[in-house]
């Protein structure tokens, strides 16, 4: 564990600032998920980073900004889809692939994790992600996935050769550079050929109903 801190300690600042490429961020995220010490460090760095806002010269916005905000709030709002579209377009980073497997493998425990690279689908072409499976546990790391509209969540699916689907659980993204979620992985993972993430109503769906945002191959 101490060794791992040394490996990751210098990565944490870059992680908090979104300055790591996704494959390195995923390795940090995988360590963070199990390391309360590094979680505390990240929380401290987040505070320090936010405090940098106070060093900026104060320039009040035009009064119209407040008026625009309040007008928007008063409007009966169901333009969540448009908002999602804007959010989905946020991050434009195309990723070199397959760097994570050796990276994670060298740093983490002897049990080699399976690393599945996920690409943005129609509804979120610029999103990307990794699904890391180790000892039957799953960790999903995403980048560029917008916060879903009110009342909706993302849902992970495992798809077998005859298009049967099993849910890996639901999650909501947060406005951060990377999203990290624990997901449920089927015990018989070998029976599945693809994974996908779709947008679904709160609580999830028995089968996919919404647009796909991420997809990847298990073969």
């Amino acid at each position: 564990m101490e060794m791992q801190h040394e490996v990751f300690e210098e990565e944490l600042a870059a992680y908090v600032l979104g300055a790591l490429p996704l494959e390195e961020a995923a390795a940090v995220a995988a360590h963070l998920a199990e390391c309360p010490v590094c979680q505390k460090t990240v929380a401290r760095y987040r505070e320090a980073a936010a405090a940098l806002a106070y060093g900026v010269p104060l320039r009040p916005p035009a009064p119209r900004l407040r008026a625009r905000l309040m007008a928007r709030v008063r409007r009966p709002a169901r333009d969540g889809w448009r908002w999602l579209g804007m959010g989905v377009a946020l991050v434009a980073v195309i990723l070199g692939t397959l760097l994570l497997a050796p990276l994670v493998g060298s740093i983490r425990s002897p049990a080699t994790p399976t690393v599945i690279s996920l690409q943005g689908a129609e509804a979120a072409p610029e999103a990307e992600g990794y699904l890391i499976v180790e000892d039957g546990r799953g960790l999903l790391v995403t980048k560029g996935l917008a916060v879903p509209p009110e009342g909706q969540v993302y849902q992970l699916w495992f798809v077998d050769a005859v298009e049967r689907r099993v849910s890996g659980g639901t999650f909501r993204t947060h406005p951060r550079p990377y999203g990290v979620y624990t997901v449920t992985v089927p015990l018989n993972l070998g029976a599945f050929v693809r994974v996908g993430v779709t947008l679904e109503p709160e609580g999830g769906s028995p089968r996919p109903t919404g647009p796909q945002v991420l997809r990847g191959s298990l073969r």
Binding site: R44, R46, E47, A50, A51, L52, A53, A62, L65, M70
Partner: protein, 193 residues
């Protein structure tokens, strides 16, 4: 001038009201933090119109997701300024086609005439503003530069390394030391949790 009852409430209490659909609570939260959120977005983006869009997006997002904020895990301003910074940097990255100019320092002279007294009068914000300027000034130039490129420009450590002609490890190390020093500087003065 502004709803006096709301002015007495802390951010977490305002968020509870916002989650319940209280527009005046959102207005109060904006009055308290909008100017600094805008200033941060403007510092990153350089143009007021896009900075306004970012602030509008962020406060709209707060209106929609106020219930998602967990006060036991972070203070609201950490959440808020991370959102502003990340969204501003995302927009910056999207217009990356043109080569970024060399950023000016964060330690610009303050524009006293433009300061909103209602915001600046908040003692804690003023103390923190002063402390962060001192903390930045206390960093070795090389560390400050790396931190500014990462935070205000949204550059990855690789881009910074290429730009400065330094090894990647050196950039990572400087970023780490800089953020840790900023944290420790503020924590020693009781300005962080």
């Amino acid at each position: 001038m502004k709803g006096s009852g709301y002015a007495d409430l802390d951010d977490a209490a305002l968020l509870v009201l916002i989650a319940g659909g209280d527009e005046q609570a959102l207005a109060a939260l904006y009055d308290r933090h909008g100017a600094r959120a805008f200033s941060l977005a403007l510092r990153i983006l350089g143009d007021p119109e896009t900075a306004e869009e970012v602030v509008l997006d962020v406060f709209w997002s707060i209106w929609q997701h106020a219930g998602a904020f967990m006060p036991e895990r972070a203070r609201f301003t950490t959440w808020l300024y991370a959102m502003v910074r990340n969204r501003a940097v995302d927009r910056l990255r999207r217009r990356r086609a043109r080569p970024p100019e060399v950023p000016e320092s964060v330690l610009e002279p303050r524009e006293a005439a433009a300061v909103d007294p209602a915001v600046e009068a908040m003692a804690e914000a003023e103390e923190l503003a002063q402390a962060i300027r001192e903390a930045m000034a206390s960093l070795p130039e090389a560390q400050r530069r790396v931190l500014e490129l990462a935070y205000f420009r949204g550059w990855t450590h690789r881009e910074i390394a290429e730009h400065l002609g330094e090894p990647l490890g050196t950039v990572k190390s400087r970023l780490h030391l800089a953020l840790r020093k900023i944290h420790d500087w503020l924590a020693e003065r009781g300005l962080l949790l």
